[in-house]
Each structure stands twice: as structure tokens, then as C-alpha cells.
Symmetry: D2
Subunit: 342 residues, 4 copies
């Protein structure tokens, strides 16, 4: 058999581990070959490939990013290029395509699947917002990096009796903020799923200093937003999903908190460091298992599906189901975090 593979969307620790896993298990188990398309769907559209054998994936397990490259393509281009992509796949003798990516990539995978291309998807999202799987690789690494850095900020905040706001990734789902907040003992955690009340945040700050506490750490998802009317937020327009975008919410909240409480507030935006570098052992295991099970599904003819973690096992879920909606933080999980606020 001949497998095609590509990585779409933003980079993510574990992408290379999936590629290595597919190549090794295809070769060892089935004697199958793998061809990589460069720069995501664009490479498939433009017929740019890389042969991938066992030697080519040596050392990829621990390397961040994606050796295949990645680039964004507008959805309408994908629609228009359907026939072209099928022709390229046929020209390379690709029997099954394994696209690794987030919501956009999996939606495109679903499109190809409906057009008759045998596809097995591998979900990838640092934000952990793909439905149908308990977790995705990259998320644990992102939370781990954010937690390490917030650990470091604690001592600075203590020494100077400051409020420290840390902006983490998460435009539409607050999973990283939720986990990093719990893991680092944050006193406030703000997520996109629940608009925050600036007055309430200010009160937490004042209460803590009032009790003699030395500092306040707040973890703020980049997509967090204030309750309408409680704080003016500079508008960043509308994103690709039609959601309103806010720029630098942590910085703006910080300015407002300084004004209201008179305390010194500093803001740190963690940014790209959350998505780079070697994956944690957790993500390496998950990515490797995803790759293996995608390869098995490809050979067993279980197409139109996506590999998913359910409890401790890797299962298959229909692509249609996986892309139906984003997985956001539930009220019960928010309530858990509430128990450690203040």
C-alpha cells in the first residue's frame, strides 16, 4: 500500500512524532510506503512531495514542528482544487491519505472523504478544542511550558508585591488557561467560555492584598473577554470563524486593574514559545499511538474517520462528528477551577 501524509495548520509539538510513527509502522507492519506532501494542502494542490522512509524519520520523535512544513490554504481554494488533488494522489499512487491537523484540516479531510478519497484523519490542536477525542498531542506540552513559566513568575510577583497577568493561547476554548491555571496555583483564571467581570477580578486582587497575601497571579486565555459594559476592549475585528477578536486582552485588563486597585500590574504574553520545541513524554506517546492507529485503520479500510483518545484507548470517530463543533470548557470544569480562585 502507499500512504500519503501531510500536516496542516499551525505547528504543534508531536507532529513529527506522528509522521515517524506512520512511516515506521507502515514499513514494519505492512511493508507499505509513505509519501509526504509539503506545506499542507498546498503541497497536495501543487504536487510537491518528499519520499519518507525509515531513515528519513530518524530523530523525529523528539523534534518539535513539522519536517513536512505547513501553510494555510483558504477553504474556497480547497473546494476548487478537489479534482486537482485527486489527480495528484492518483499520480503518486496514493491509496490512503493521512492528513494531520486541526479543525480546518479535518474539515478538508472530510470534504475529500465525501468526494471518495480514502482518508484517515489525525487530530492536532494545541488548544485541545477538537471534539470527539479526550485530548490531542501538543496540549500537554503547551500547558507544561506555560506552567513552568508561571512558576517562574510567582517569585517575581512575590518579591515586588505585584499582580501578574499571563496571557496564554486559546482563542475559542480555554483549556490551556484552565489547566495551566490549576497547575500553577493561579488566583484568577479567565477563559473565552465565560465573560469576566472586571469588578470581580479587581475585588479578588483587593481581597488578597487585604488579607496580607503578597501577590496575585492571573492566567488569561487570549480569547477571554469582559462582560459587555464592564470594560472597554480594543476591537481586533472578526476572525475566520466569525467571532469577534480582541487584541491584547491581558494587557488591557492589566491597565484597568491598575487604575481600579492602585496595585502594580505586569503582563506577560507567552506567545509562540507554547507551541515549539520537543514534546513532553505524554505527547510523544499520544502522537506515536495516533500515528500507529491511523496506519492500522488505513490498512484495514476504516476510512472517513479520525483517530481519537477515549480514556486510555485509541478509537476511531467519524470525521463528520469530529468537525461538527468545537470542544469548549464545560461549566462543571469551570466550577472546579472556581474552587481555587482567590
Amino acid at each position: 500500500m502507499r500512504i500519503g501524509i501531510l500536516t496542516g495548520g499551525g505547528d504543534c509539538p508531536g507532529l513529527n512524532a506522528v509522521i515517524r510513527s506512520v512511516v515506521r509502522s507502515a514499513a514494519t507492519h505492512y511493508g507499505s510506503e509513505v509519501v509526504g506532501f509539503r506545506d499542507g494542502w498546498r503541497g497536495l494542490l501543487e504536487d510537491r512531495t518528499t519520499p519518507l522512509d525509515v531513515a528519513a524519520v530518524d530523530g523525529l520523535l523528539t523534534r518539535g514542528g513539522t519536517t513536512l512544513g505547513s501553510a494555510r490554504v483558504a477553504p474556497e481554494k480547497l473546494h476548487a482544487g478537489l479534482a486537482q488533488m485527486k489527480a495528484v494522489l492518483a499520480a503518486h499512487g496514493v491509496d490512503v491519505l493521512i492528513p494531520i491537523g486541526g479543525e480546518g484540516t479535518l474539515t478538508a479531510a472530510h470534504l475529500l472523504s465525501q468526494a471518495g478519497v480514502p482518508v484517515v484523519g489525525v487530530p492536532k490542536t494545541i488548544d485541545n478544542d477538537i471534539d470527539g477525542t479526550d485530548l490531542t498531542f501538543g496540549f500537554d506540552t503547551a500547558v507544561s511550558i506555560a506552567t513552568d513559566l508561571i512558576d517562574r513568575l510567582h517569585t517575581t510577583a512575590e518579591s515586588h508585591q505585584r499582580v501578574l497577568l499571563v496571557e496564554v493561547m486559546g482563542r475559542h476554548a480555554g483549556w490551556i488557561a484552565l489547566h495551566a491555571g490549576l497547575a500553577s496555583g493561579a488566583h484568577v483564571t479567565l477563559v473565552p467560555e465565560e465573560p469576566f467581570d472586571v469588578a470581580e477580578v479587581a475585588k479578588i486582587v483587593e481581597d488578597r492584598f487585604g488579607r496580607g497575601d503578597t501577590h496575585v497571579i492571573g492566567v488569561v486565555a487570549e480569547g477571554a473577554r469582559p462582560l459587555p459594559g464592564t470594560m472597554l476592549v480594543r476591537d481586533g475585528g472578526v476572525d475566520e470563524y466569525g467571532h469577534r477578536r480582541f487584541t491584547g486582552v491581558a494587557q488591557q485588563l492589566g491597565d484597568e486593574l491598575e487604575r481600579r486597585t492602585g496595585k502594580e500590574v505586569r503582563t506577560t504574553v507567552l506567545g509562540h514559545v507554547q507551541r515549539g520545541g520537543t514534546p513532553t513524554s505524554f505527547d510523544r506517546v499520544l502522537a506515536t499511538r495516533f500515528g500507529l492507529h491511523a496506519t492500522i485503520a488505513a490498512h484495514e479500510g476504516r476510512h472517513g474517520q479520525m483517530v481519537a483518545l477515549r480514556g486510555t484507548e485509541i478509537e476511531l470517530v467519524p470525521l463528520a462528528q469530529a468537525v461538527a463543533k468545537l470542544k469548549t470548557v464545560t461549566p462543571s470544569r469551570l466550577a472546579e477551577t472556581g474552587a481555587f480562585t482567590g
Copy 2:
């Protein structure tokens, strides 16, 4: 309400995080008090306590080990001391006891529960061998440390064209070896669940060097054992579960491999470093959620149970069920690892 808490068995990253979580959620949510018993069941038998308020648990989230101390007590002493323990709990006005520990501690918890003491258990095992929960805290930290160290050993092995065997924890279950092996790209992984054939391991070594590979990394659970008759192993007697114990299996396998293959073999025993120090973010989150849900269960009268991770949610399972058997590595999980052998 008044909650008693104790930590039993070997130390484990996340124990302190559970203690902090119980104390904070009991105080914040319910206005309840917590008293800690020192050195596990021994402190309960000998009436040695520590008051635990919110100030006392400050900073515990990130600290390894257990601030309450831990010590082993023989099961027969616990049986004999049942009345004594009930008297001490009554004297301190303890309404519910939350013991945190492994198989031994949870068996004792079950015993107390059957004797009418309201108990909510929290499972703890670095080895991840407690049944009824997907995972326990401490395991991710142990795998993460082992993986980091094996990453380091790779380059030494490469530079000197060596076989490197790394002995990791896991007497009765090979979960740490399985995960660290997958995460570090080990070429051989040996676990207690499946006796190994020395000839087969020697063949993997010879095949790799024969193909021009520069090195071989083997991850060996301390409880791994050879197929009867394939290798002489020095006997370490019989352990508390009646299993035969082998001493230094990695070292002995290494000697045998050197003899058979003529290659230079080095052995590293990771030992206690796997169980100490600050927990990973994953384990901090899990430990904090376990503590919170144990506190909720304590207040809601859901006793005789243990908190457990099932998928992404924390649930309760009967103590009786949790201690019925050890959770060992399944054949399907072993098969996954087999895909990356050699």
C-alpha cells in the same frame, strides 16, 4: 465538618498537591477543617496529628514528597489496631477520613470503611497499577523524568556504539517502561507482564548493528524477568505479594548480552529520582482534581469509594473494586510497543 487526611506508602509527586487541594476546597467551599495524621497509618494508630489550614498548605502544589510523612505498617498491625484507630478518629472529631495511597493503603481504607468509618480514598501509585482509574498522579512525572534521562543516554550510546539498558520502576506492572520506552524511542522494552527471551533481545541487538545502526537503547522494568531457562537470574526471594523477586535484572541482562553479542553494554538504574521532585503540570492538575472531588464526596456522604479518572472526568468507584486486582499492561498495549521494536 472535620476531615482527617493521611498519606501512605512510598512518596510520589502530587501527594502534597492533593493535601493542599483537600484543605483549600474544604475551607473555601464548606468551611470545614482538616487534620493531618503523620507518617501514614502509624500516625493514626499513635495519635500524632498536624493541624492543616490554608496557610499551612501554601506552596505545597509544586513540592514533591509529602509534608505529612509516610511510613509502612504491617497489615496485621492495622487489623489489630482497628479499634484504636476508630478511637483516635473519634477523639479528634473526624467525620470522614481521606487516605491517599496505593494498594496497601486503599486495602486498609476498605477495611476501615467496612468497620463503619466514613472513608473516601485517593489512589496513588507511581507505577499506575491501581485498577478502576485511567491514571494516577505521579506516573506522568515518573515517565517524564525517565524519558528526559533516556534522551540524554541516546547521545552517549551513539557516540560509543553501545547498548544501553535503563532500568525503570515497575515491579508488577510495566506501565512506566511501556510509556518511557515509547516516548524515548527505545529499541527494546521489557515489562513484567511478558517474560523476555534473551536470545530474541540479543538478535535485536545484532540486527541493529548489522544494519549499520549506531546504538541500541533498552528500557527494562525492574520487575521484568526472563523466560524460564533462557538466562540464569540471581534470586531476590519472594515479595509481599508472593511474587518471586529478581535483583538488578537490567545489569544481569546486560552481562548476558555482552557475552552473547560481544557488544559493549552499559546499564543505568534510574532509581529514586523517578519518584521525587516537583510534579508535572499533568500530575498537578490530576492531584488537585482528585483532592477536590474527594472533598466533595466526603461532604456529600458518598463514602467507601475512591476518586478515579475516567476519560476526562473524575468519578467515584467502590474501594472494593479498586483493590480487587492490580492493573497490568494489556496484550493490546504490548502489541503497540511491539510495532516500534528493533
Copy 3:
């Protein structure tokens, strides 16, 4: 003897290690006592103290920040408060004062010394810009954190064929940028000591992509500035040393590079994470040795001096000499970095 101790200026990994070292060596070697003044010189002016015995410093070796707190005081307040400070020191029976801090703190220390107060200074600067000592603690930690994070950014840049600019600390001296740049294999390193030519930086970017390289990493000290006339930089006014301040130089350079080269440029400002958290082993050793030798100097009557690292030994240098000028990056060190540019 009775020693007074205080920490001034911004926090820095290793401050607590110095405090612990002074307290332990004073107690063990000399049977002397130590009193801490809170929040730097302000605590001395306002007579706010903390007793520091061996138990109080337990665990401080690994903790970032300063347990004594720190705050900035205007130099004129210090001049005006000289008599007040002497009175407070006398009231507490302080025989020798050990202030730990940067240029501002050591200048104040020199002032007190000239006014007859026995003083032994301990140099502290993350930026490594204090003259008279090879290195100061905190610097290695900052470089180490910056390097770890830049390592992570490499893979993101590679995967997306980007230019990544990383702004690190260093307003007046580029030591952190220089070392983190060398350690992370940066393709461009910009420091305050040598104004950069935007056209030259743009050429490096174009040359690399022209040769088929996948990405460009630039490390930019926050105090780096363009050659006059080559790029418009938003002005941030004048700082306390009379130097012109620029805001967000990396971001502004990034915008300009995007405009000139048409390549995607992303900027990350590392910020406070560089100065927090547990010190590296290197900084723990240096801080501990500084504390020990300051205590020895205090007892041997060698006052008006500062401890300093010279090669592998800790020596004493006059405070007057240490504060005479900042230690900036030399042309020969810049030339070393030049060898790895592009």
C-alpha cells in the same frame, strides 16, 4: 557580631541563596546573628526588619526572588535619609551591613561606606553589567531560560519559514543577547553597544532564504537601537541614567523587516520570565560563594568593598571601583558573535 542584610533593585534568581549563605555561614563559622531589612533601602529607612536565623532560611537555596522583598527608592531620598539609616542600624546593633543589589544599590552602599558605615556589598544584576566582577548570579539563569525558549522557537520558525525575533533583557549592556544568541545559534544578534543597520539585517534575512535556509532567528536586546536615520523608532523618553529609551524595538524592527523583505516576521518578548524562578546550579554556587565571602569580609574588617568573581576565585574589589562605570560588551566579544552571523 550582628550583620544587617537587604536586597535592592529588581529581583534576580540567587538573591535568596545569598541570604541563606550569609545567615548559615555567619551562624556556623562565627556564631553571629543576622537581621534582614525589608523591601531594600526602604526597610532600612523605615525600620522594618525580620530576624533571620538558620531555620528561617531553610529551603531558600532553590527559591527565586527575595524573601526580604525589594523596592526602589529615589537616590535623593537615600542622601536625605543617611542619618536616619545610621540611627536604625545603631538601634539594631548592626556591626556590618551587607546590601545585595545592582548599580543603584551598590552606589548607595558606597555612600553609606563613605559616611562611616561598615559595608560589604554583593553585586547583583541579571544583565551582568556590573564592573569589577567576571559574572554575577542570575545572569546564567536568564541566559539559560532565554536559550531554552529560543530552542523552542526554532522549530516553529522552521515549520513556517519565518523570521523570528526574540527580545531579551539588557537595556544598557547586551550580555544576555550575546550569550543567548551564541547558545541558541541565532543568525542575528543585536545589542545596545553597537547600533544596527536595518538594511544589513534585511540582507541577512534575504541571503538566508535565498540560499534555501528555512528560517531566521534574531536575538534583540531590549536596549538595541538602529543606526540614526535607518529606521524610525518610537521614542520612550529618557531613563534614569539619561539614556534615550526605545519601546518594543524588536516589534518595530520586525514590522520594518516584513516591509522590506516580504517575509513573515514574528516577535516574542520574553519579559519577566527571564528573571524568576529557581536559579541554575551555576548561579546557586556563585550566590552561595558570594554570601560566604561577604560574611568572611564582614568579620575580617575588610569593608567598603564588594565581593567579585575573578576567574575561579572570589575576591574583594573597592565599591568605588565597581560603580564607576557599567561593564558593556567589548568589541572583541562582538567580533566573536559576528563569526556566527548569517
Copy 4:
């Protein structure tokens, strides 16, 4: 010009960084070529080479081990092979040889230099025992790893009220033990330079537990040895320098301490993990600077020398001087550590 390069002795974080630095600076600065000999002197004797251009060293900065491989050769073979090595160098048109290695390698380098071969040495020793340079790369990484791991062991020791002995590298010089001991707050540090008195160590253990302290951490260099007559130590024969070798000194001391004090003692031998994996930022900078200055010296005709760190600058010292004696821990440095014992 054509430069030959080889790496000798045990592997060490930073070797690859030196290779990369030599290749890049030779190409960029001088347009010179570099040829690598495989597996140390053996590759030179047997004429096994690898061409090294800028592409070949991409990514080496962060990689542990040595891409050239390393192997030990008996000194008499080197003497006998002198003419052969000169012939191989001539055949490859090598103008200057840059050997990177420890005492053995530098002694061989000196031999070649005296035989008329232009040589510039680069010192490498994890143990930091080469004379003539303040520090060597690899040492900081080893100390850093050891310190991280001892940090982890602290909490286990505390939780179980144990004595924990950690055996670190250092056969003839105790630098790693000295620095890791200071950095981790060890209560006892034992080095080869000063035989230890078991009774004294036992007294420290008893005094600490007598004062109510919860644990004792001891750092033991593998070459530490007891005062004659105080403890029976199993003999490991005589090493290549004629020194008596002891096997497992930490384990044997632990057994003895258990017997004498009745306390539970556990021993951890860190082993090979100290010498593998990615170098610290400190070691990357040092290795890169060593490589650059060796290349400059090669081109400037300053042969028969070794690059060395003196304070903050890289200088040249005669090979003859560097190999005259080992650099061991001085009494004044031992006295510093003594201040923190107990």
C-alpha cells in the same frame, strides 16, 4: 587551509558544538575546509574520515555526544603509529589538526606536536580536571543534571526521614561533587582529594536527626575514599594512572552508615546520565568560543597550544603545561564547602 578534527575519550555535552564552531568559523572567516577523523585517534590511524561542511554541522549546537564518534586507543599504539598518523594527515592535505579531548587526547596531541605536526588542542573533560583552563565545557551540564536530580531526591528523603547518598562522577577530582553539593544544599560532600572519616560522617547524620532535621543528603564523588583503617572498602584494582580504584563507594558507605546509625540509607548512582544530552547554555557558549579560537590559532600559526578559559577571555596555553598535572580541588575550595556541612 585544511583543518583536521577529531574527538577523543568519553563523550561530553559540547563536543558537537565545538565541531560546528570550527567548521563554521573556518568556512566563514577563512574559506578553509575541515575533514573529520572518525572514532578519535583510531580514525586517524586507520584513515577513516568524514567531510565536514557547513550543512553537515547544521543542528549540532544542541546535540549531545559527538557526531565523529570516539574510541579509546592505548598510548603505546599511538607512539607506534606516529609515522602512520603523519602519513594520513599528509595524504588528506591537513595543515593543522584540532584534537578535542581530555588528558589522554591532549597528551597524544602534545606528542604529535613535538613530532612536528601543527596542532591546536581543545580541552574536554566533564570532571573539569584539566589544568590551565578555568573550566571546560560539559562540566556545567554535568553539575546541572546532578543538581536537578538531587533536588528531586530531597523530597523523597524528607518524606521518609532517610539518608540519601548520591554518587556523582569524579575519579581523580571532586569538582562535580563540590559544585553539585553546594548547588543542592548537600549536608555532606565527599571528594577524592580528602579521604573521609566514616565516624565523622556518621556523626553528622546523628547530629542532624538529633536536632529534629528530617533528612540527610550526601554527595559522593565516585573517587572518594575513606581514611585508611576507618572502613573496609572493596578493592577495584589499580587504574591507568596507578591510583587504587574503589567500586561503589557510595553504596559501601551507605551500608556502613546504616550499621552505625540505625537510620535508613538509600544510594543512587547517577552514572551516564551526567554526560549525555543537550549542553547547557553555558557549555554551548564555552564550546563555541573554544572552537572559534582554536580555528583562529590554527590560521595564525599559534600551534602546540590549547585553548583555555581565563576569567572571561579565551587564551592559549602550551600543551606541555596543560598535561603536566591534573587540576584537583584546592584546600580553600574544600573549606568553602565545609562552611555548609551538617
